[in-house]
Structure formats: C-alpha cells, structure tokens
C-alpha cells in the first residue's frame, strides 16, 4: 500500500485551508456589482394568497427589484420535479401535484417563499421584505400526517385525494400472511420515526449571475451535486440550456442529503439575476434552513414478526405511513419505498416479507433523503422488533439474532436485494468483545447500587448504498443514471489532476482519492490535485449522496486509472524496448520485471507529451476518462452496541459506551472512515435522544432554531469505540462498500433498545427525552417494583 496508499492514515490535504480560515464557501464569494436577495416567506401553513402588493417595498431605499411567483410562471420557469416514479399496488402512478417555484395562489407550508426582494444590502432587502403586503385567506392545515387520510381533514392538493400520494407495496402478501397463520409466536410493535432536520452548519446559499453578452448564467451554490443541479435547471426549470449554465459548488459546509435538491431559491435567484441585471447573493439564515431544507424520516409504522417454535423468523409484515410534506421533493418517493422496504430482511433469513407504505401529503416542509434515507427507518423496524421478540420470548437477543443470521452469500432476500459477502457473526463477536459484554452484569449492578438503571441494546444493521446500477435504478422508477465519472489528467511533468464527478462537502476526497492514485503508481499524494464541484471543469457527475463517493466515485477513478496504466505500460515498453506486459509500476517508476531497466514516472509522462518517440498507433498525451456503473448496490453491515444509564429521578439518559463494528470492505483512509462513523453515530444518537422537528396543529414549526431543536452537543455524546471486519466487496474494483451513512442507520435502534432495556418498557418513542423516559418509568412502576 505504501505510506500514502490505500489503507494509510494520511492526514487530510484540504485541512490547511479550513484551519486557517482560508476555506471558500459560497457566502465568502463576492461578485462584482452583486446585490443581496431576501425571501419573504409564508407565515401560514395553508392559505390562499388573495393579493401581493410590492409597490411600497419597491420604493424602499436600496431596492433593486422584487420578484413574485407569477413572474416566474409568465417567464416559463418549470415546476419543481420529483425524480423517481413509483406506482400504487393497483398499478396507478403516484399522484404528484405540481410544485410551483413560488406558488402565487396557495401556500402549503410555513416558510414557503412568496417573493424575492433584491437590494444593495441584506438589511435593506430585509427592511423592504417587511414592506410587502400579502393578503392571505387562512385555511385549515393538516400536520398530523398519521391522520392525513382520515375523512374530513384538510386537503393539501386536489390531485391527491385524501392526501394519499401512493399506496405502495413490496413483497408477497399472501405468502407472508400464511407464514403468520402457521406461526408459533407473533410479536407486534408500533413505531415512530421522528422528523429530523439535517442541519449542515453552513446554511444553504446561492450566488446567481448572468452575462448578457454571452447569454450565460453562473450559479455558485451549496450543492452536493452541481451537475444534477445544472441538468434539472436546464431540462425542467428552463433557466438555460446546459452549455449556457455553469454550476459551481465551492467548499460546502456539510450536506447530509439536504443539499442534493434544487430548491426554489436557486431557481428564483437565477431568473432574477437575468431580469434585474445584477448578480444576486442569497444566504439562508438558520430559521429559513429549518423551514425550507428538506426534512428527514417521519414515519409511523405497525410491524409484526412471525416466529416458528424454534424461534426462526418466518414472516415480517410492515405497514408504514410516510409523511412527504407539502410537495414531492426529488427523491421523496424513493426514500420511504425502495430505499426502505428493500432492507427489511436486515441480517436475517426471514423468508416472507411484505411491506405496505402509504405516502401522504401534509402542510409541512417537504421530506426527503437525509443521511441514511430509508435505511435507518428499516433498521429501526427490524432491530426493534427482533429485540422486542427476544424479550417477549424470554431468550437472549444475541442468541435469537445468531439463530437467524444469514450465513451464506450472495444472498437473495425476498425484498429485491442480493447481498454481497460479509460476516454477521464476526461483526457481532467483535462488538460483544469491545463492549466487554461478559462484564456488563457487574456494571449494571454497580449502577443499581447508585440508584441508576443501566440498559444495553444492540443493532445489527445492513444497508444498501452506493446507488447503484443504473439499469436497476431505472427499472425501479429512478429518473437518472447512477454511474459516476472521472478523468485522470497526467501532466508532462508527471503530476496528476483528477477530475471527479463526486463532490466533497466534508468527506475528504482531496486526500482519499489522491491515495487511490498514490497506491496505484507509487506517487506522493502531494503530486495529485483533486478537481471537483464545477460543471465547466468536470465532464459530468452525479455527485455525493447515498455513501456513493467511495464505491461509485472511486470506482470511476479506478477505471480511468486502469486506462492510464495500460497506456503508460505500453509507452514504457516501447521506450525500454520491452514487452508492455513485462512492465510493472511501483514507487513512481516503470520497470521491466526481472531486469534493471526502468524509467522514472516523469520520464514516461514527458515522453507521452513530447511524442517524439511513441508507438505509431498511440495518440500523444496521457489523459483518460471513465464512466463507471456499478454491478450492484454495496452492502455495508455492522453491529452497534449501546450501553446507557438512566436516572430514574429525572429520566435523563446518558450514553455510557457505544461500540460500532462495521464491514465497509476495503478502507482507503482509516482516519476519514472513522470520522464518518463518528459523525453518523452522533446523528443517530441525536435522532434517538434529542432531535425532533415539531409542528403544532396549525402548522407552525415550533422547532425552528437551535434554541428549540436539540442538536447533540459535545457533552451529550460519549467517546466511540470502533472496530472493523474487512470483507472486500467483490463487485467493486477497489473492494470498497461505502461508509458515510452507516452510523446514522444503525445507531437509533441500538440506543432505543438500550433505553427500553433500562426502562423495562417497549414504548419509548424517539427522541427519548428525559420527560418521555421519566413518564415511561412511572407507567411501569408496579412492574419495576416487582422485579
């Protein structure tokens, strides 16, 4: 591997600029003659807009102009799309209602944009926004989505009767029902997936500019996928054809899914930049981020597990209602369906699985993919019900899991997925060793002596990531391909620019991607520059989400490197008068195997560019491109074990130990991978104990600031104990599986299994706040006392 190759703990190259304040985020960029944009937003969850009077605002000091939704419609700006078509079980397509960029007639969630004010300064724009007079006719709202399909509740869109977008199913219902009919035991559980706000610390931002002479737009934006942004801005929103629109995602301060989507703000600012003739910067404040960034999760589920007399799982049936919010965001249809129900087998051989998911509208912010996207929800269902089953049957949750683990691979589940090899037993064993499971009874007794309740819970997750074979995604309704592209430009002096369609917003690509090249050619990582985030520089890219930069992005790099390697060997063979098949590349040299004949890397590269002596059938230069479409999803898996201590007097839960053992396949940089796991765990523990977006019955978002939405802080979290099992992914050129979401996927079930173990009560919903835990303890008091 070399000291900077695959597997090395190389310190991040990108850190230098971030630790010195030299990072370049969207809000740090200033364009010549730039004006500032501020959006006026709906204070109502549901209302008709009777009139909008912008005349006073337009007369305010510093105001450049005001844009309202009707202008966008008149300008032929297209509606915002949902990019994944799904069908109800009766065969009818999902009932997606139009999402107008700034609907001039109806508002359907608090924070929906109504007008853009552009002024010389942000404070002038804010002042002017307050001078816009909007007459609303308030309408009743539905925010409790579990009741969205009830008779007589307010309707969000006429296109979706009873607020039902899609009544979707997966699996064989008849076979599953017959498994339940023959079951020796049936365990039932009702579960809630709390609604989360992704909360990247950098708020969304955009700078839109327009060059009149060239009829060309440039958008600097906080995007996880600038080419996807350009594609939809061109193909659907009619901003400009792709060659007339450059999208740049500079340094981006975290995404977690929320920066995948192309929101009304970017579209409006682009349109306004042309029509007002000024570059426009818009930066969300935190409350805008809470009200308008796509939220995550938000399910209610009834699940039941059938077991035979030997405690083998024979059937799983799941009924879920998923809240989509007021509009169907880009991946909103896929997240609670194909990214959720396809993982309901978990790590187990359950032969019959059936899921029914009802996707419903409500008068809340759109809900879409947030770190894990569907898979945390699936893991929570499976791992909560397995733990509950063990408790109900009075058997060890460890033994129950072992008895049902999948042991042979590849494994075809009854819910579409075909799992790659991994080793669930090895993951579990390492987890138990790391948490010192045999000493747990002593720790529990010690806590009890202090009047505290200890609980231990585990979560044995498997997920599907690296989205994925384009053909498979297309067959399931996905609107885009899910490959990735890379270009390796080797310069005459031998240094390399790697242009990648992946986008780094914290993942460390400038280091890990360079390591892949260092590994292959034995070059220092400092000789490699990673170029990303600019549609003018990179041929194309699907961007970074779904843990895909490793398995798919690096797959494309590996494929391009193979082409470079082949040409380099051919040229070296020519120059060294040897067979190209005898050339080996190591430590920055091209050697003829078994001889002392060799060329330095830079001698070969210079030879490629001088082209004075290259084979007759060879083109000059050394630069190769590749598009890589994976053969399958990748399947990271792991065992997480959480140990908590609950104070029965206050209900406060403290995470004492948290062990995560993952199989991510080959690990390129352990520092980076561990960091990804730490962050994912923090978000998963945040979901379990702290975080929840709450709407009141009128549709007001009560948790729209960091004063109200409980973000995990340093003193809320433990040190994490991590370990790995490495099963190289046979379907990936580098053997990698992806690691970005695992922590957030596996953690909530582990934490809640631990909390419910401590409390002795299955029904503690997330977030398990002190109040909920304390109330659960009070309900259980007689049982606890009798124990």
């Amino acid at each position: 591997m070399g000291i900077e190759g695959i597997g090395a703990r190389v310190l991040r190259k990108e850190d230098k600029r971030f630790i010195t304040g030299e990072g370049r985020y969207t809000d740090d960029i200033v364009e010549h003659n730039m004006a500032q944009g501020v959006f006026l937003r709906s204070p109502h969850a549901h209302a008709k807009i009777v009139s909008i009077d912008t005349s006073a605002a337009e007369a305010m000091p510093g105001v450049v102009g005001v844009v309202t939704g009707q202008q966008l419609i008149d300008g032929a700006v297209g509606n915002i799309i949902c990019g994944w078509m799904i069908y109800s079980k009766d065969g009818s397509p999902m009932k997606a209602a139009p999402w107008k960029v700034m609907d001039p007639e109806v508002v359907r969630h608090v924070g929906q944009p109504v007008a853009l004010v552009v002024a010389e300064s942000k404070s002038e724009a804010e002042d002017a926004a307050e001078a816009i007079v909007v007459e609303y006719e308030e309408l009743p709202a539905i925010t409790d989505f579990s009741k969205a399909m009830d008779a007589g509740v307010p309707q969000v869109h006429p296109e979706a009767e009873n607020n039902l977008i899609c009544d979707w199913q997966l699996g064989d219902e008849a076979a599953t029902d017959s498994a339940f009919a023959s079951a020796a035991h049936v365990v039932e559980l009702e579960l809630e997936q709390n609604r989360l706000v992704p909360n990247a610390i950098e708020p969304r931002a955009a700078i839109a500019s327009y060059n009149k002479a060239e009829d060309h737009f440039t958008l600097n934006s906080t995007s996880q996928n600038p080419h996807v942004a350009r594609l939809v801005l061109s193909a659907f929103y009619n901003i400009a054809p792709e060659h007339k629109l450059r999208v740049i995602a500079p340094d981006v301060g975290g995404g977690f899914g929320s920066k995948i989507y192309i929101y009304p703000e970017e579209i409006t600012c682009l349109w306004a930049a042309k029509h007002l003739g000024r570059p426009i910067k818009w930066v969300a404040d935190r409350t805008e981020a809470f009200m308008t960034d796509a939220h995550g999760r938000d399910h209610v589920t009834k699940a039941k597990l059938a077991l035979d007399a030997d405690h083998k799982f024979i059937g799983l049936k799941v009924d879920t209602i998923a809240n989509i919010g007021a509009y169907m965001s880009l991946f909103s249809s896929a997240t609670p369906t194909y990214l959720y129900a396809t993982l309901l087998a978990g790590q187990y051989t359950t032969p019959n699985i059936y899921a029914n998911v009802k996707l419903v509208y409500s008068h809340t912010t759109p809900v879409d993919a947030y770190r894990g996207a569907g898979r945390p929800e699936a893991t929570f269902v499976v791992e909560r019900i397995v733990e509950a089953a063990a408790r109900q049957l009075g058997v060890s949750p460890i033994e129950l899991r072992r008895k049902n683990f999948i042991q042979t691979f590849p494994y075809q589940t009854p819910v579409l997925m075909n799992y790659d090899p991994t080793d669930f037993n090895a993951l579990l064993e390492k987890g138990l060793a790391a948490i010192k499971y045999d000493e747990y009874p002593a720790r529990k007794a010690e806590a009890e002596a202090r009047g505290k309740l200890r609980g231990l819970g585990m979560s044995c997750y498997i997920e599907a990531c690296g989205l994925a074979p384009s053909k498979a995604v297309g067959q399931l309704g996905g609107g885009v391909g899910q490959w990735e592209s890379a270009e390796v430009r080797v310069n005459p002096v031998g240094t390399i620019e790697l242009l990648t369609g992946s986008h780094s917003h914290g993942q460390g690509h400038e280091t890990t991607f360079a390591q892949v090249i260092a590994d292959r050619f034995g070059l220092p990582v400092d000789n490699v520059a990673i170029v990303h985030g600019d549609t003018d520089k990179i041929q194309f890219g699907m961007g970074s989400y779904g843990s895909r930069s490793g398995p798919v992005g690096m797959g494309a790099i590996a494929k391009a490197l193979a082409k470079v390697e082949a040409k380099a060997k051919k040229l070296a063979g020519h120059l060294l008068e040897a067979d190209e098949n005898d050339i080996v590349i190591e430590n920055g040299e091209l050697k003829v195997a078994g001889t002392d004949k060799k060329l330095a890397w830079h001698e070969m590269t210079l030879g490629a560019y001088t082209a004075h002596n290259i084979p007759d059938d060879m083109e000059p230069g050394l630069s190769e491109k590749a598009f890589y479409d994976p053969a399958n999803f990748t399947f990271p898996a792991g065992t997480f074990i959480c140990e908590v201590e609950v104070d029965p007097a206050t209900g406060v839960t403290q995470v004492i130990n948290f062990v995560a053992v993952d199989d991510f396949g080959v690990i390129v940089n352990p520092n980076v991978v561990e960091g990804q796991v730490h962050g994912g765990l923090a978000q998963g523990i945040g979901q379990a104990l702290f975080e929840e977006a709450i709407y009141d019955a009128n549709g007001q978002l009560l948790t729209a600031s960091y004063m109200d939405y409980c973000m995990p802080r340093a003193d809320d979290l433990p040190n994490f104990s991590l370990d790995h099992v490495v099963t190289p992914n046979p379907n990936n050129p580098l053997g990698v599986k992806g690691c970005g979401e695992a922590g957030a996927i596996g953690a909530p079930a582990a934490v809640i299994n631990a909390v419910t173990d401590a409390v002795g009560h299955e029904h503690v919903t997330m977030p398990a706040t002190p109040e909920k835990v304390w109330r659960a303890l009070q309900q259980n008091r007689p049982a606890m006392a009798a124990e």
């Binding site: 630790i19 304040g21 370049r24 923090a682 960091y706 340093a714």
Partner: protein, 163 residues
C-alpha cells in the same frame, strides 16, 4: 452610522458602519475576513467565535460598536506567520474537522478553553466547555482529542499558556 476603530489581527482599522452592524458582519464584509462563519442567528452554534481582548466571543452576538477600541483575533490571525498555532495543528493531526465550517469557531473557542484552565483539562471538562459550539460532522470525538493534545502542547510552552 458611526466610526469603529479596532485592532484586528495586529492591524489597526477604522470603519464607518451602521449602528446595527454586527462584529461578524464587520469582519466578513468590511474586512473580508471570511474565516469567521455564520451558522445560526441565536448565538448557539459558535461558528463565529473570535477573540476580543483575549476572550472568546461570539461575533454574531455583539455589535461592532460595542467592541470599539478592542483587540480582535480571528482564525486568520491565529497562526504565527507560517507556523500554525498548536490548536490548528492538533485539529489536523487528530482529524478534528470534516466540512470545515464550524472549525474556525471551534479552534478559537478551544484556545480560550485551554487558557482558562491552566491547571489542565479533562475530557469531561472539554466536552462541557464545548457546549456553545455545534459540529454536525465529527460527533466531537476527534475534536475533543485534538483539544486535549493541543492543551498539553500549549501548557508545555509557557509563553503560550500565559497569553
């Protein structure tokens, strides 16, 4: 409008600003010191933390006029020429940052934490002291390690500990 005079990263500056101009706005927009970041509007996230007269202050929560005459150090002024401050180095060595957005505020707060605890730090104290700085990427694990390591370096450098 009023005139505000400050010493920022060792340089004297005088700017005429609106009375409502925040220190963070003065730094970012009037002085182009964009290393100081804005992550919220309720002084909760700490991304805007700078030093005012040697103490960590959330620059989005004070008016520029309030600190008139003060000495300000931002993330851009923390390194000693080409030499990184031990806290900056420790964040890199311990992978205490990912997206980098909260990092300047974290580092400025961390330097302040070390200075306020000349007797040394424990992990528990570091975690408590970081309560006003939010990171969404790292789970804090490596930030805590970085601060612990930098504290040891700083405290073995008497001039730095006494700063």
């Amino acid at each position: 409008m009023g005139e505000v005079s400050l010493t920022v990263n060792g340089k004297k500056v005088t700017k005429t600003v609106e009375d409502r101009t925040l220190l963070s706005t003065l730094l970012r927009e009037h002085l182009s010191l964009t290393g100081t970041h804005i992550g919220c509007d309720t002084s909760q996230c700490g991304a805007c933390t700078v030093h005012v007269n040697g103490n960590a202050v959330k620059s989005c929560a004070v008016f520029a006029a309030q600190v008139d005459g003060g000495e300000i150090t931002t993330i851009e002024g923390l390194a000693d020429g080409g030499d990184l401050h031990p806290m900056q180095s420790a964040f890199r060595e311990h992978h205490g940052l990912q997206c980098g957005y909260c990092t300047p505020g974290m580092i400025m707060m961390a330097v302040d934490i070390v200075k306020r605890h000349p007797q040394g730090l424990t992990e528990e104290v570091i975690r408590k002291e970081l309560e006003g700085n939010i990171c969404r990427c790292t789970g804090y694990h490596n930030i805590v390690k970085a601060i612990d390591a930098a504290a040891k370096t700083m405290q073995s450098t008497p001039a730095m500990a006494a700063e």
